[in-house]
Amino acid sequence: MRRSVVPAIGLLVAALAVAALPALAPLYYVTLMLPFMAYGVILLGLNLLFGYTGLVSFGHALFIGIGAYTGAVLTTHYGIRHMELILPIAALAAAVVAAPVGALCARYVKIYFGMLTLAFGMVFYTFLLKFYRLTGGDEGMRMLRPSLFGHDWAGLSKTAYLVGPYYYFSLAVLALATVVMWRIVRSPFGLCLRTIRDNPLKAESLGVSVPWPRWYAFMISAIYAAVGGALLAPPTGNVDPTLAYWTHSGNIVFMVLLGGFSSFFGPLLGAFVFIFLQDTVMSVFPYWRLVFGAMLAGIVLFAPGGLMGLVTRRPHGEAAGA
């Protein structure tokens, strides 16, 4: 228990810094925290699948898309503006889709799992693009400013709304998501996942069902992705099919790897570094994809434990939560 004091303090400091940011940092960088928080939620869920269950999904953008489009559909077509309603409905929508998809995918591992998820992701992308009368096609759909805890903050400009009420709302959602995920991975269920990840055959011989926990992990990660996706939409004000494209799935896996999939907080760190680094590089260098590709290659080759792996000096690729 003692060794967790220092990281706990670090965490507290980080949390305080994030909470105080709107008062301290330039306006633009505060707005950039919003996708960070949304991706934070998404990645917490993705890492449950990646780090703790050992399954790499190359189609997770599917659920980000579901979350984002849920928000758009609810605000534009059904007049539901309460974010507290939108998030659970997005979670529900994701669960409804994840149940059959997860059931089908959870039977497979590694490359087949990756391929199946990629295929499902692209089916959804194609659906969003082709059925344009329903979804808006390439132009997408508007997501109107949601109300938070009953207030619609109409008096505030969009920017003031984003760096004020919406910032703290997102932070609250991220904090809640983090606490819940922490409980999940520390629970017997979490232990079960790690067992299955490390040695499925042995797990089976011990009587642990292998597909069921994977399915639950899949469902949970899908729900997280949708909640994050719904959070992602209001700052843009519009959702579009590119949110579900396979390279978006690849990018979030990149983020998790960057932060370190072996650590609980690695994904959050990965989201933060990725977003701010991308922002800086994009403005300065037109060939930023080259830089990021090289970075990813570098991580895979030299620092597969990601940034957290470098910081805590864990052995390469050691499993999370060990």
Partner: protein, 426 residues
């Protein structure tokens, strides 16, 4: 300072073509009274990757050309112009870049935006951030009617459907006896809107025309052999194609390989965007070809156009497409608006004053006079014509050239497109 370093690195990184961009120098006239002497920052959003990347590059090149000339002549009211360029990519990312330009770089105006998904997302953001946004392209009906009915800060390009309207009107003029028509367009709003518009217009002139096939391959498809086979199977009298990028060249080539246009007429509403890739070897004469709002070889073109074409060709080994003029007009109109608002303001005009000055303003653009309608929509001319091989190039040009103004070919403010088309007196 971060911005200055950004500009320097950008120059080094190759995004800016000329070294003078962002580092204004040479003839620097004194800034006028009431005008700050530091550079005026103009934000530019340009596409760098993907199928529309050449369009983004063309727009950026024209903007840089304009900037170099204007800075040599002293800038705007004596203030040098500094371009701050960000990438247009997905709607979400582009909105973030847009916010950065305004909140972090503190630009006076943002210019750019090509893809329909992006411009649709940017519209409301522009209104929220209260900084003028002059869009290069990307306007489709939904963008016009639903999200920005009465824009205060956003200035939209011409309705994209005008190309289809002009083509629809010219079709019966140049092609007699058309009874059946097939259409092929990209599978997104532009492709669908163009087809819908073309159909509506054609039906006014040829009431019993039959539309036998409509294909919408995804943007980025590079092989149309199967589509062409389907078109041949449908045996239309005419094929209407709204491709505007490399796929226009591809389909032209693949169509020539099976002699498609020997058995039917062809209408290419927007292939002028890739005009110098439509080589004579595979582009037949007798097609109706649209060049959107700028035709590089216009015999009636101004000295400005001729100079631009000459210098563009010398620098990039290509002939400039229409996006150059969208870009040129936007930034030129901004300058003109600032200069127009200055006398009354007595100092560098505020953004709101610039917006007011932009409404109704007319300037000399590359292709002739262009203006902003009071409802923030661009007004200009469209160029379409019949392809010919009789020229000094290895690609086709058009002769005769039809010049159609948006005064007659674009729906008036407040009207709904299809209703307006159906209300024409033929």
């Amino acid at each position: 300072m971060a911005t200055t370093r950004r500009e320097f690195l950008k120059t080094a990184g190759g995004a800016a073509a000329a070294g003078a961009i962002g580092l204004p120098a040479i003839a620097r006239a004194q800034a006028r009274p009431g005008v700050p002497s530091d550079p005026v920052k103009i934000g530019v959003l340009a596409i760098r990757a993907g199928i529309a990347a050449p369009v983004g590059a063309a727009g950026l090149r024209a903007t840089e050309w304009w900037t170099e000339r204007v800075n040599k002549a002293g800038g705007i009211l004596g203030r040098p112009v500094q371009l701050v360029v960000e990438e247009e990519s997905t709607p979400k990312d582009t909105v973030e870049r847009y916010r950065k330009l305004i909140l972090q770089d503190k630009v006076e105006v943002v210019i750019g935006g090509i893809s329909t998904g992006v411009t649709l997302a940017l519209g409301p953001v522009a209104e929220e951030m209260e900084v003028p946004w002059l869009s290069w392209d990307g306007t489709t009906q939904k963008g016009v009617e639903e999200t920005m009915p009465n824009p205060k800060w956003a200035f939209r390009s011409v309705d994209n459907e005008v190309e289809a309207i002009v083509a629809g009107r010219l079709t019966p003029k140049y092609f007699k006896g058309i009874k059946t028509v097939a259409g092929i367009g990209n599978d997104y709003s532009y492709g669908h809107d163009c087809w819908e518009t073309y159909q509506a217009v054609l039906k006014r002139y040829i009431p019993d025309v039959k539309f036998v096939l409509a294909l919408f391959p995804k943007l980025g498809v590079t092989d149309f052999t199967s589509h062409i086979a389907a078109i041949q199977q449908a045996k239309p009298d005419l094929l209407m194609c709204s491709f505007w990028s490399g796929d226009a060249t591809i389909i032209m080539k693949q169509a020539a390989a099976v002699g498609l246009f020997k058995t039917m007429k062809g209408v290419f509403t927007t292939a002028g965007g890739v005009h110098d890739s439509l080589k004579k070897e595979f582009t037949p004469e007798g097609l109706l070809l649209g060049y959107n709002t700028m035709y590089f070889d216009d015999p009636k073109g101004s000295p400005l156009l001729k100079q631009f074409v000459r210098e563009y060709k010398a620098k990039y080994s290509e002939y400039p497409p229409y996006e150059c003029d969208h870009a040129y007009f936007n930034i030129e109109s901004y300058k003109a608006a600032v200069e127009k608002a200055y006398p009354a303001a007595g100092k560098w005009p505020s953004r709101a004053e610039v917006v007011k000055a932009l409404e109704g303003i007319e300037v000399d653009s590359l292709s002739g006079k262009r203006s902003w309608r009071p409802d923030h929509v661009q007004m200009c001319n469209f160029y379409q014509g019949i392809t010919t091989h009789k020229n000094g190039y290895d690609f086709v040009t058009i002769n005769p050239i039809e010049v159609v103004s948006t005064k007659t070919a674009m729906k008036p403010s407040g009207a709904k497109l299809i209703e307006w088309i159906n209300s024409w007196k033929i």
